[in-house]
Each structure stands twice: as C-alpha cells, then as structure tokens.
Amino acid sequence: MMETFWNTIASYNAATWPVQLVLICIGILLVTLLCKRPSRGVRIAMKIYMALLNFWIAGVYFLVYCEPRQYHSPQALFWAIMGCIWLYDLIVKHASLARNGHHRYFARVLFAMPFLYPLFSLALGRSFPMITSPVMPCSVAVFTIGVMLAFSERINIVLAMFLCHWALIGLSKVYFFGIPEDYLMACSIVPALYLFFREYIQAHEGQATKPSTRVLNSLLGILCLIIGGFVLFTLLHQFNLYTTI
C-alpha cells in the first residue's frame, strides 16, 4: 500500500511539475496582490484560483494519477465539492477576501508551509519525484487555511469543517501508514481551527444565544486539547515505530 502511495506521488510529480510550477507562481502572485493591492478583480481571481486548485487536486491528482490507489474517487469528489464551495462563494460573495490584519504571522507560516513539504520529504531522505510537493492535497489544504485566516472576515464554516476532516485523515495517515509529512497539516489545523471558532464566537458575542461566550470558549479549548492529545499520541507512536525499526 505504501509503495503504491509513493509511486502515485512520483508519477504525479514527474508528469506535472511544470504545471505545478505555474500554479505556484500564480498563487504567490495572487497572495502578493491581495496583500498589496486587494482590488475586486484580484479577489475574484483568487477565488477562481482556489476553485481551480481544488478541481486540479480532484481531477488530475486523484482521478488521473491516484487511480492505482483504493478509494480514490471519493477523495476526488471531496476535493471537487470544496472547489464547488469556492465557486459558490464567488457567486454569493460570502467571503470578502479583504486583508483583515488578523493572525498576520501565523498566516505567513501557513503560506510558507507548502514549501516546507518538499523540504521535509528531502530531510527524511526521499528524492524527487517521490516527494510531497506544494501542489498536493495537504499542501493545498494548509494554503487554503492560510488564505482563510489572512483574508476572510467571515469564515466559510463548511469549508473549515472539510479542512478539519482532511487534517484528521492526515493524522490517521501518520498513525497507520507512517507518513510524517502529514504532521505539518495536523499541527497547523489545530491552532487554525481554534482561531476560526474563536473569531466566530467573538463575532456573535452580542447575539442572544446560549451558552455564554465563556462556556463556548472553554468547550473549544477542551476540544483543541483533545485533538492536540491525539497529535501527541500519534507522534509518540511514530517515535516508537522508529525506535523499533
């Protein structure tokens, strides 16, 4: 199974690296423009880019190159739905994608994360094309979280939940298949989720709902601690695996 996993990644990277480079350059350009000149056109372009990126992962990565893997089509559909959510967002103008000035440093770390993926793979002794690249599901998921944190006044909660689910799958992959690269995703999603929910709770503070903001924040803290505990457990499990090997 692990062999199939890495072989599909290798064939994907070998065949698509020029397109991946183009996608990365467009991504860098759009993020820079959103930071420096966030015009309406740039915001629309960013949403189209995000949709395109998700459809790319669904169609090219999962449907074409991951065909030898079991259950690749549900994953393709999963990413296609996320792409549709971005398109829907574009139509109904849900997320403003205006620079909100929140979590500036954390967002920068998340934007840098897709580039850490290949470095992490190289550090683990792998070589191109059998490495995780910036245009792969987990890197794109981390990048999406960065975009949402840095540029969204109103978080799309459905998209956030999709990413939360994907992070959990990443954590399970670390535990069951020993792919430590997915730690980057799991480690970034826990604080990001905390921030998403905390912002949501703060935004709705004045509304007549219950329980109180304090209780909601406590519940959120407990949940994040539990997820953090899972991350730690998986990490220890990995160490145990490595020492056994």
Binding site: Q70, Y71, V158, L168, Y175, T209, K210
Partner: protein, 255 residues
Amino acid sequence: MKTRHELTEILDFIAEYATYLLGSGVHTSRAIRNSQRIGQSLGVDIQLSSFQRSTILTVRDDESGEAITRVVKIPTLPISFERNSDLSALSWDALDEHLPLREIRRRCDELTAKPLIDPIFVLLTVGLANASFCRLFGGDWTAMAIVFTSTLVGYAAKQRMQAHGVNHFLIFIISAFMASLCASAALRFDCTAETALATSVLYLVPGVPLINGVIDIVEGHILIGCSRLINALLLIICIAIGLAATLLMVKDSLL
C-alpha cells in the same frame, strides 16, 4: 359572559400558543391539553383539531354559547424541549393562579424570547453525540474521530442550506451524502469502517416526528400521526438516498 372581542383575543392567543407548541415538536394531545387548560383558566371551552400544516381552533363561551373558529398555519420552528416544557408549565400556572389573558401573554412572550442555543455549540455537540453513537455500535477510536469530523461537515452543510432556504428533502440527501462520503475515508484505515459509515448519518434521523407520530396514533389522532410518520419516512428515504450514493461509489454495492 365574554364579549366577541374578548373571545377573539383569547382565540388569537391560543392559536399562537398551540401552533407554537405543534411547530416545536410537541405531540398533538399535549398541545390540546395545554390549550384547553388555558381555556379553562379563562372560562372558555377550546376545541382543537390539528393537521400536518394547519390547525382548526374553536373557542366557545359556555355562558353565551357564542363560538369563534379559526384555521391557523403551523410554523416551522426549531425543536426545543426546554421551551415546550416551559410553555406546558405556563398552562398550569394559568390554571392554578387564575392568570388574566394579558399576564399569560406576557409570560408566554417572555418564554418564547429566551435565547436559542448557539449554532456552533449545536454543531459541536451533534458531532460528539454522533461519535458516541459510533462507539455504542462498536466503533473504535479512529472510527469515532472520523464520524465526529464527518458529522461536523454534514451538519455544517445542513445549517448553511437551512439558512439559505434550500428544500428540506434536498438538505437531507446532500447532508447524508456529505457525511457518509467523509466517513468513507475510514475504509482506507485499519478500523471499524463499516460502523463509521453506518453511524455517520444517524444525526439526521428524524426522531421527534417518529415518536410524535406513534404517540398521536396511539392517542387517537390518526390523521396527523400518519402525516408525521409519512413525513419522517420520506426523510429517512432521503437519508438512505444520500448514504446509497456514497456506498455505490465506494463499494459498488449497497451492502
């Protein structure tokens, strides 16, 4: 003896009160009992007959024999057991304390204006509840975690679609499909994947209409009981369609 204006005022309040109860997940005989109790406290006889979408109400003054009838639409409201219990208690207060209509209305408005539960709190607790269902059906920790996040996805989508006024049945199909699609990720791991898949849609099961339907039939309100059961059955079919779409995709069969 009540004037026509007084009778109309009572009828208007009872109409609001009874339809609020029926719309918030109270079974028919309880709504009738509560309404009649308030009517008794105000010295009038209330007769109520309910259907799935509307209610026919008659208020009759025993002394003058004058009666007024109205047909009222039942609103779709979020199910709240706390509110139902509060409103039932109000009917007892009205009878025991001989409250005037104005005071009953004031208390009723106070109770219905109570804050609702935060949607994010509901989202997280529904996720935890569904993960617990997974455990109850023999799921392991990995399956539970996957069911938890799958439920978050499905329920968040359901909340958004409800906010946008999407068709009720379509919401159930899409939510069931999304939740089960996410739960199908469990198939890739060495865990109780079948349990995860099966329990990922349990948060959608229309428990309240099912229970109310049975209670209504048992207590003689056959028509509304059957309507509620048919409605619940249609929702269950929608859940099955959503789950079946995922199963056909990931397993090429329904079993």
